[in-house]
C-alpha cells in the first residue's frame, strides 16, 4: 500500500543524523516495539537555547525512518520554542506527503523530539498508554 515520495525515499536511503549523542542534553523516546516502531531522539542545546546537534535512532518502517531523519534536519539550529512548534503536518509536508496509513509515523518523530526537549527542560511527560498501538488505520 505504500507509495512513498522521492523525498521519503531519499531520507530512507540516506538518513541524516543517525546515531546517539553520548552526552546529550535531552533524550526522548516514543513508541513501542510491539507496535512496530520506536524512535529515540538525542539533542544538544547551546547557550542561545538553540538545538546545536540532534541525532536519532529508529526501529520502524520506512516512513518512521524518513520522518525521524527529516525532523532532525528541520530542527537543527532552531530554538527550543521553534522546535517545539514543529507539527506533524509540517513533517509530513516537508517529505512531500505521506501515505494516509503512514501519517502516524510523522506524529512519532515530532513527539520524540518534544520529549527530548521536555527532558532537557526537566518536564515530566505523561507516559502514554502503551498497551494499545496508537496507529491510525488505513
Amino acid at each position: 500500500m505504500m507509495d512513498y515520495s522521492d523525498k521519503v525515499m531519499d531520507h530512507f536511503e540516506n538518513p541524516r543524523n543517525v546515531g546517539e549523542i553520548e552526552d546529550a542534553d535531552g533524550v526522548g523516546q516514543v513508541g513501542n516495539p510491539s507496535c512496530g516502531d520506536i524512535m529515540k531522539m538525542y539533542i544538544k542545546v547551546d547557550d542561545d537555547n538553540k538545538i546545536s546537534d540532534v541525532k536519532f535512532k529508529t526501529f520502524g518502517c520506512g516512513a518512521a525512518i524518513a520522518t525521524s531523519s527529516i525532523t532532525t534536519e528541520l530542527v537543527k539550529g532552531k530554538t527550543l520554542d521553534e522546535a517545539k512548534e514543529l507539527s506533524n503536518q509540517a513533517v509530513a509536508e516537508a517529505l512531500g506527503g505521506l501515505p494516509d496509513v503512514k501519517m502516524h509515523c510523522s506524529n512519532l518523530a515530532a513527539d520524540a523530539l518534544r520529549k527530548a526537549i521536555n527532558n532537557y527542560l526537566g518536564i515530566e511527560t505523561e507516559e502514554e498508554d502503551d498497551f494499545h498501538c496508537h496507529h491510525q488505520h488505513g
Partner: protein, 388 residues
C-alpha cells in the same frame, strides 16, 4: 538493474506457455460457452478440457467436481458460507485454525456476526495444528471443519489426512484451503479425503483472477453466486474462458515432473535457509523445518522492522514480503506469527522469501550477498539493538 522476484507466495508470473495457450480465447475463440452456436461450442470445449486438467492435478474422480471461481478468496468464501448456510439447521459450529488466511478467518468472523460459533484452534511453535485438538473441539452441532493445507506465511503443511479422518468419523464436512499447496506439492483430494478444496491459479503461474473450488460429489453446499445456470448451476456468470484455459494449462504444466521441480526448489530453499542462518545472528526460522512448502523461507530478524527490510531489499532489486503490519497499514503484527508464540516485536521483524520454478542458484547467492548488509545497516539504526 536486474531484479529478483522472491515473492511467489504473494503471486507468480504467468508461464509464457500458459499465456500462449490463452491468447486465442480473447480475440478469436471469444464465444460464450453457454451459447448455442459454433463460437459457443468452441469455448465450451476449451472449458471442458481445462476442467479435466485441473481435476487431474488434484486427482479428482470426476471433472464435474471442479467449479471455477475468481480465485482463492471466492473459493474459500463459497465453501465456508455455502456449507454454513446449507447446514445451519443441523448446527452452527465451525472449527478452523488461528493461522488461516484472511479469506477464511474473515469469512468465519462474518459468520460469527450472523450467529455462528467458531472455534479457532491454536498451533504449536512450528505452526502445526494438533489433530487431537480438532477431535476435542468437535461438538454435537459442528457442521464444518476448515483447515488450510499449507500456510501462506510460514509454509507449514498441516496433517490434513489425519484431520479428515476425524471429520469423517464424526460425519462433518471438511474443507481445506490448498491455495498455497496446489501446484507446489502433490495434492490428491482422495488421499487428503476432503469434501472441499480451494485453489488459486495465480499461485502457480496461471493469471490472477481465476481459481477453483473442488466439491466432492454429494457434498451439501448452497451456491454462492446466483444467476445463470453456468457451472452446472453452481456458479453463475459468463465463464472467464481465457482465464480458465490458462488455469488448465498451468495445472497441466504444474503436474509434469512435479516431484522433480519440488526437489529442485526445496534444495534452493534449504541453501537459502542455511546461508541466512550462517550469515546473520539473532534470527529465527519461522515454520516447521521440514513439513514446509518447497519455496517458503520465513525468518524473524530481531531488532529491526519488516517494512524497512523490504524497502532496502527492493532498492537492491529483491522483491520479498514481510509479516509486519507496517506493510499493510494494519495495526497488528501477523496473526500467524503471533499464534505461533512470537512476540509482536519479533513478529514485526519478519521476512518472507518465497521461491518458484523461475528462481535460480544465482538469485539465492544474490540474496545471501545483500541481506546481511541490509540487516546490519538497519540494526545500526535501531534503538533496541545492543541494548539488552
Amino acid at each position: 538493474m536486474e531484479r529478483i522476484y522472491m515473492d511467489n507466495a504473494a503471486t507468480t508470473a504467468t508461464d509464457p506457455t500458459v499465456l500462449e495457450e490463452m491468447k486465442p480465447y480473447f480475440t478469436e475463440v471469444y464465444g460464450n460457452p453457454s451459447s448455442f452456436h459454433s463460437f459457443g461450442r468452441e469455448a465450451r470445449d476449451a472449458v471442458r478440457e481445462a476442467r479435466d486438467k485441473v481435476a487431474d492435478l488434484i486427482s479428482a474422480d470426476d471433472a464435474k467436481e471442479i467449479v471455477f471461481t475468481s480465485g482463492g478468496t471466492e473459493s474459500d468464501n463459497y465453501a465456508i458460507k455455502g456449507v454454513a448456510e446449507e447446514l445451519k439447521d443441523k448446527g452452527k459450529h465451525i472449527i478452523t485454525s488461528s493461522i488461516e488466511h484472511h479469506a477464511v478467518l474473515h469469512t468465519c468472523e462474518y459468520l460469527e456476526d450472523k450467529g455462528f460459533d467458531v472455534t479457532y484452534l491454536p498451533v504449536d511453535e512450528d505452526g502445526l495444528v494438533d489433530p487431537a485438538d480438532v477431535k476435542d473441539a468437535i461438538r454435537e452441532d459442528t457442521i464444518l471443519i476448515t483447515i488450510m493445507l499449507a500456510n501462506n506465511e510460514v509454509g507449514t503443511i498441516q496433517p490434513i489426512s489425519e484431520i479428515s479422518e476425524i471429520a469423517q468419523e464424526n460425519d462433518i464436512t471438511i474443507h481445506t484451503d490448498a491455495v498455497q499447496a496446489v501446484g507446489s506439492i502433490p495434492v490428491d483430494v482422495n488421499e487428503l479425503n476432503v469434501d472441499l478444496l480451494s485453489l488459486s491459479g495465480h499461485k502457480f503461474h496461471s493469471p490472477k483472477g481465476i481459481g477453483a473450488l473442488y466439491i466432492r460429489q454429494g457434498t451439501r453446499i448452497e451456491k454462492y453466486l446466483h444467476g445463470g445456470a453456468q457451472e452446472r448451476g453452481r456458479r453463475a456468470t459468463t465463464e472467464n474462458v481465457a482465464g480458465i484455459v490458462g488455469l488448465g494449462k498451468a495445472a497441466q504444466i504444474a503436474g509434469q515432473n512435479l516431484e522433480e521441480k519440488q526437489a529442485k526448489i526445496t534444495q534452493l530453499r534449504d541453501k537459502l535457509i542455511d546461508g541466512i542462518l550462517e550469515e546473520i545472528d539473532e534470527i529465527k526460522l519461522n515454520g516447521h523445518r521440514t513439513k514446509r512448502l518447497p519455496g517458503n523461507v520465513n525468518f524473524s530478524i530481531r531488532y529491526i522492522e519488516g517494512e524497512s527490510i523490504l524497502m532496502k531489499l527492493d532498492l537492491a532489486g529483491i522483491a520479498a514480503s514481510s509479516g509486519s503490519a507496517c506493510t499493510s497499514g494494519s495495526l497488528e503484527a501477523s496473526h500467524v506469527l503471533l499464534a505461533m508464540g512470537l512476540s509482536a516485536e519479533v513478529a514485526h521483524g519478519s521476512l518472507r522469501l518465497s521461491l518458484s520454478k523461475y528462481n535460480t542458484e544465482e538469485d539465492i547467492d544474490k540474496v545471501l550477498n545483500v541481506l546481511p548488509e541490509v540487516v546490519s545497516d538497519l540494526r545500526a539504526m535501531s534503538p533496541i539493538y545492543n541494548q539488552d
